[in-house]
Amino acid sequence: MTTTAQLGGSYIGMELSADLAAAALDLARRFHDGATLWVISPQWEPHAHHVAVEFVHPVIMGKRALPSVALVEPDPVAQARVASQPGDLLIAVASADEPAVVDAMRRAPAWGVLTLWIGSGPRPPAGAANHILWIDSDDPMVPATGTFVLMYHLLWELTHVCFEHPGLLKPRAESDVCVTCGDEGRLGEVVLEPVNGQALVRAAGGEEWVDTTVLGDVRVNDLILVHAGAAITRLEATS
């Protein structure tokens, strides 16, 4: 018997279609504000390239070219860190246990980057990315059957529909409020090790000098929580 794969379109039900719609509106809003879209897919590089070429060189004449780049070097986290700026976008096409993508996703809030995660199999934990666009199938062949291609095609198509609704692309009041800014503090990534108890830290709003005397030993690329100008906790990798 020849192995048959489930048709990609059959996965797109009410829930996933709503997820795709919400993700597309966020993509359009960020592009409207000047974002660049970075794409990583350490297990399946061609998917990263396909997403990038889709946005840069649209298949439909007259659609605007949007900045998108596939990051396919051996260390995509290092590539995304230096490439991305606050307000940018990051799409990962990867399984939930891909280490580089797990790491990039937990750091993205400190970079000020909005994240989308496309994949199949066991899901990433809720909140691991801003938008988790997932195929709930344990078939390991899903990435080679056109299903991911369908998902990023749909994202591209829906994003361009959003551009026809300029009123909905304007910055919203609530978008200025960061959900990580509660009592817990803001996520930051150390850029320069402390000198006289002050480390340069990158957070969603930009770079700032932060008092690290509570934590003491702080290294470059450590993730920390910043509260009232001071580093109060270091975040360790969970896995």
């Binding site: 020849t2 719609a21 198509e157």
Partner: protein
């Protein structure tokens, strides 16, 4: 930041795409419905293509398996998005999540080779010159083009056929030049006007081709031989 979102003077002609629109609920509903509609079309086209080409895919996959068993290797070719689909297909053959890996690579993958050929001999020859360099008579070439008209693919396919390769084309629309090319042993045209939907079907047809090949290579030799 800037005021570039100001309504244009013709805005009154299009009250529903006016920049004063503030509630995203109905847009999100429309987008989700659109996604489901396109997904349904994608699935329908994939199934129709699989059904239409079932005998051809079985024959092509069987011949590919016989070539792999003789040490043949697979080259995949495409431009733009189809080059990435060609790379995914090559990876499916060379590094499958299950089954038996065989030698396969995309001829667009090496930027040094592609830019050297593009710069020195012209873009139309980026694939043909690689076929001349790499190909042996037991190999296979699969070309993916949503129009079926790409010159760089057609010249490479002609060269591949002359060198005894098994040649397979994935096309779209009306099939273009691929549909009438004598140099293609098999041509699978996905009948759609949408480049996106064609690419999604190409992926599914490629997956079926891989499945047939795997099935055939797993058989005992006495069964595999005609």
């Amino acid at each position: 930041m800037t005021t570039r979102h100001e309504p244009e003077s013709t805005g009154f002609l299009y009250p529903f795409i006016e920049s004063e629109e503030t509630d995203a609920t109905s847009l999100l509903d429309d987008l989700a419905a659109s996604a489901r509609g396109k997904a349904g079309e994608s699935a329908r086209l994939q199934q129709e293509s699989l059904d239409e080409y079932a005998p051809g895919l079985t024959a092509a996959g069987t011949q590919m398996a016989e070539r792999f068993l003789r040490g043949g290797r697979l080259y995949t070719l495409g431009n733009g998005g189809s080059s990435t689909d060609a790379a995914t297909l090559a990876t499916l053959f060379s590094r499958p999540a299950r089954g038996r890996p065989v030698a396969a690579w995309s001829l667009a993958a090496d930027e040094a080779v592609v830019t050297a050929l593009g710069n020195d001999v012209g873009f139309d020859l980026i694939f043909k010159r690689q076929i001349i360099a790499h190909a042996r008579d037991r190999d296979v070439a699969i070309a993916l083009s949503t129009s079926g008209n790409s010159e760089d693919l057609m010249t490479a396919i002609t060269e591949a056929k002359q060198r005894g390769l098994l040649t397979v084309g994935f096309s779209g629309h009306d099939g273009g030049r691929m549909a009438v090319a004598d140099d293609l042993d098999f041509c699978f045209t996905v009948h759609s006007q949408s480049i996106h939907r064609i690419q999604e079907s190409h992926a599914m047809l490629g997956y079926r081709l891989w499945s047939v090949t795997q099935e055939h290579m797993a058989r005992p030799m006495s069964e595999a031989r005609p």
